[in-house]
Structure formats: C-alpha cells, structure tokens
Symmetry: C2
Amino acid sequence: MQRSGKPTIKDVARAAGVSPTTVSHALNGKGTVRRETAERVEQIAAQVGYRPSAIARGLQNSRLGLLALVIRPLHSLDTFLPEGVDYFLRMAGGASLAAMDRGYSMMLIDDPTRPDVPFSALAADAYIVTEPFENDPVLTLLSEQRIPFVSVGADPARRGAFVEFDESSEQQAITMLEHLAHAGAQRIAMVTGTDRNDWNLGSQETMRAWASARGQRPQILEIPETDGEGAGEPIARRLLDGHADERPDAIFCLTGRHAAGVVTAAQRRGLQVPADLMVAAASGAMQNLTSRPTVTTLDLHPEETAKLAVDAAIRLAEGHTVSTPLSTPEVTLQIRESTTRS
Amino acid sequence: MQRSGKPTIKDVARAAGVSPTTVSHALNGKGTVRRETAERVEQIAAQVGYRPSAIARGLQNSRLGLLALVIRPLHSLDTFLPEGVDYFLRMAGGASLAAMDRGYSMMLIDDPTRPDVPFSALAADAYIVTEPFENDPVLTLLSEQRIPFVSVGADPARRGAFVEFDESSEQQAITMLEHLAHAGAQRIAMVTGTDRNDWNLGSQETMRAWASARGQRPQILEIPETDGEGAGEPIARRLLDGHADERPDAIFCLTGRHAAGVVTAAQRRGLQVPADLMVAAASGAMQNLTSRPTVTTLDLHPEETAKLAVDAAIRLAEGHTVSTPLSTPEVTLQIRESTTRS
DNA sequence: CTGAAAGCGCTTACAG
DNA sequence: CTGAAAGCGCTTACAG
C-alpha cells in the first residue's frame, strides 16, 4: 500500500489477514471482534498509517462532520475586514474551536448563493448564519436545499420560520439605555448600521419605544457599518452641530468603531467626553479600550454564542430537533470612562 | 424523491427517463449527449433541486474541494483572539475568499494533531500552515499522512524540506531598520515574540547583523506575542529605564500591539514620541492607526499572501508540483507620526 | 447517442 | 467471532 496514495481499509485487512468488515468493526468498536484480533488490527493500522477516509465514511449517512459559518455582514464587502472585526473574529474563532471540540470541522463560507459556489460548501452537514438580512437569500437557499441551519439573529421578515437564536437586541439596548440614564443622560441618540438585520431593526424599535415613553422625539441615525471610525464626522455633523436644545447628551452606537469615531469628532468640536457628551457602544471594538477616554460597551460574548450555535447546528446535523427560538448569552455591561461623570 | 433527504442522480434519471450515466454526462458536459436530452435533464434537475453530492463525487478522486488553514500562532492560546488579530483575520478572510473564487472551500483548523481531530479535518485536499514552529508537529503529521501542504514561513528547523513561502523576514527588517536610520535613529532596539518561528528568528538574526555592522551591541527583547499591549511596561522597563547611554532612541516591535504598548509606556515616562523615541511595528494592528501619535508599520499584505498560498495549495491538491520556496508579496512601508521628526 | 457495470472506501445488516 | 454482499451517490471506461 505504499505505492500510490494512502492505505485503505483493504490494505489493512490484507496485512492483518482478516476481512475489511473485521477491520471496520475492530477500529470502530462495533460488532464483536475477538480481543486479540482487534488489537492486531489496531496495531497494523497504526503501523501503516491508516486513517479511514472521511469521504467514504461520509457517504454512508451523507454526513461529513463539517459545519459552515456564514457571517452575513461581511458579505456586503469584498473583504473580510469590516467594521465589527472584533466581534466576528471572536465568533469565527470560537465557532471553529467549539466545532473541533465536538468532532466537527468548520468552514468559513462567504456566500453559498453565488452561482459558482464550490460543491464542498454545500456538503456541510449544517450551517450557521449570523445576522441574516431581511428575506435573506442564503436562508432561502439552505432551506430549499434541505441543509439544516441555525441563524443567529432572526431573518426580520421571517421571524420564527427557521431555527434561530433570538439575540434579544431589545434587552441589550435597554441595558445600555438604562445605564446611560442612570449616569445622567437626558437625551440619548442612537446610531445603528444600515444592514436590514434583526440587530439594527430591533434596536431601533427599542429606541423609539424608549424615547416615546419619555415624551421625546427619538433620534436615530443609520450609518453604513463599513464606514467604521470614519462615521464619526457625519454623525457629529448631524447630531452635534444643530441647535443646542436638540443636541443629545449621549450617543449610543451599535458598533464600536462608530463610537470611536464619535469620540474623536466630539473632541474636535471642543466637547468633553463624558462631561458634555457620553458615548457608548453595543458591540465593542478594540479602539474602545485604548481611546481616551475609554468607551463603555457591552460584551456580547461572541465565543459563547458561537458555542451555542455550534451545539444547535450539530443537533440539527444529527437529525435531532431543536426548540426555537434559542437564547444567546446575557450581555455584560462594561462601564468605562466615556459614561462615568465623576 | 420528496420523501426523505435530497434528490439523487437516480431520482433525476427516473424523472427524465434516462440512465444515471446520461444525467451525469449531461450535467457535467462530458461524453456525448444529444442536445435535447441534455436540456431536458438540466431542466428536471433544476426542477427537483438536484445538487450532486460533493461527498460521492469526492470519493472518485478522493478530492473534496476542501482546503484547510492552520494559523499556528493562534494555537498557543485557548482562544482565537491573540495578538496579531489584524494580520490573521485578514489572512483567514483572504484565504477563504480566494478559495471560493477558485472553487474550493476553506476550513479553519486549530490543531490537526490533537488525538480527537475530526475526520473531516484530515479530509482536506491540502493544507496551508502559517508560521510553523521549529520542528512543527503539524507539518510532521501532514507529511506522514501524505496530505499536501504549503507553509507560510519555513519551519526553522527544516528549511527547504517542504513547499514553503519564504517571507523574507530579513528583507522586511532591513526595510524598517533603514527607514528608522534615515529618520534619525542612532540606536535601534528590536522586540520580537517568543514563538520559535521563522519570522521571529529571521528578524532577530537580521538585527544582530545590522547592529554588529555598526559596531553596536544588538538589543533584542523577546516578549510573548500574547502579552499584547500589556508588553509595553516590561519593554519600557528593560529598554528605557536603564542608563541613558544604553537607551535606544528607536524601538522596532514585530507585532503592532507591542508597539502600541511601548508608545503608552514611553509617554508615561515623559518621553516624547517620536522626538525622544521612535516606535515602529512590522505587522500593524489597528491601534497603530488610532493612537497618538500614529505608529509607522509595514503592511505585509496578508490577503495577497493568502491568495498566493491558496493557489499553491490548490496546485498541490490537484497533483501538480510547485517550485519552492515561493515568495510572499513585497511589504509596504507605512510611514506615520511615530517615526516622523519634523 | 445511450446505458449497464464496475468501482471509489467505507459501513452495516445478515448469514455462517 | 468472522466475512461475503449490498449499498451510500456519484463517475468513468466500455459495450452497444
């Protein structure tokens, strides 16, 4: 079996003087094999460096032990380097590790709906799709192809139609809004991204309810996620350069880099953070730890979310059902200088 | 074929009133099929949502259209969130996109040598291993298993033994050292990571040669990659708190976060950057763009590197040979405030 | 131009 | 306790 390619089960069988069936049984602990036989087979298998082919094995139950992760917000870009890197890298890394711990591998898929999608991409046993868009074609494709999947954050137009994690963006937003209010904010503006996903839409809705409960006109700005810190100037122009009586004394950005940009833009206008303006972010970026002042954020615990998503995906892949909606971990409020008036 | 699972080639054949062979031919444009037949088959296939199984297909040539990426420096951590996030995320994202563009999917593998490694992980057609360690067991495993792979950065103990990209860390280091010298630095210290990979070792060697060519004692500090910005204080303590005549007037950190930490620590000591101390990094982190002053870095073009690595891996997967060593893209010097004395 | 047959490397009833 | 046979879903000579 040295000749070409890797040794197969037949090579092992021949070398051990048994049938392929017995090799299979011995190596997988199935059926009943005499102890000595099993040991001999194992030895020889190790000796010739035999590894069962995942492909052949997968053919039986059409399962490869392969999961796929689609990070939807990354797709609007031609690069994997967007806004939100921090969150999504932690997500991808966490998912990958969680998968391996459970005996699965994780593929990183950009867009399974592209016409030239690799066959292997659709060979995944199950998908995880984070932050699907409204009527997301990825979810449509997966459901047509009968590939099991879980979505992290619902498709806003098809809530409850699929197995999904409810991120409770309302809960998240409330947590931060209450913190800001306790810290002294009277008038809070919100900045979301422009993607039509559950996170943006749910947060906006919460903000509207919050403002109207306080008899205020809600101030909500939508800025492309991809603008990153560059969003600071436009945000400041629209929220800070107007009449003083309309001006918010706190800005709550969903994405950390928007918040980082706001801090800089505010300071450029001579505003003190947090004295004149508090700034906070829902999904922290690294910049929020290193800026002056440091910026209050929520830790969304993406690794935890990834783990839960992997668990759910595997249960689906293995043919079990999963009750939905599932819950993401509680967020943690990270209070920092930008909202601490002392 | 609605009953259970996905439609197979047999279902299509039956529905089209032809044999599976003909379906296969029609769909793959092989053999000769009458035009009308082919069209009818295609129609029906689309109608029933037929997609050939990547697994069954892979069984023929034992190729799945699957690549695997191991980012070695990530493995020393229990998290995918290390130092160097910027570089490695760009690498992973770039590799993933490049693979899809070429009809392959990309798995993110933590460690294929772990005893419970998923079978699917070893089903990859080829591996890309970035920054292998000295005598890296991952390379050993892959070569024993006869899984083709390319390494980005040589295994320092086995240079030339495998298909590898030469990162020319010497070239990189020289580029930065010369820039610093031109900018006015008289005494440059280097800070590397502690992993025993080609990048760290090669850079150190270059630094030693550079210093001795100038009759100086080389000052090189090894600090764990994982310390991130926290490395700033220890670095400053060892390099800046000594006698003034031994004190470097420029610190060149391989990793961007070390550099970020150094800037802060230097400023805490009342040193002006760049007036009293220049700071530069070989692999930029985001912090280097947002700090004050901004920090000079090299852009290593990880996406480009990823693309080249994917190309090479695919050539190997498809049974071709690749001449080695391969070259990574030229680095670009990004001059910023931290090395600009005006 | 079309299809029956063999085979890719395994696993899994089933018979001995 | 062991093994021959069938089958997973395709592709690929090869015969008709």
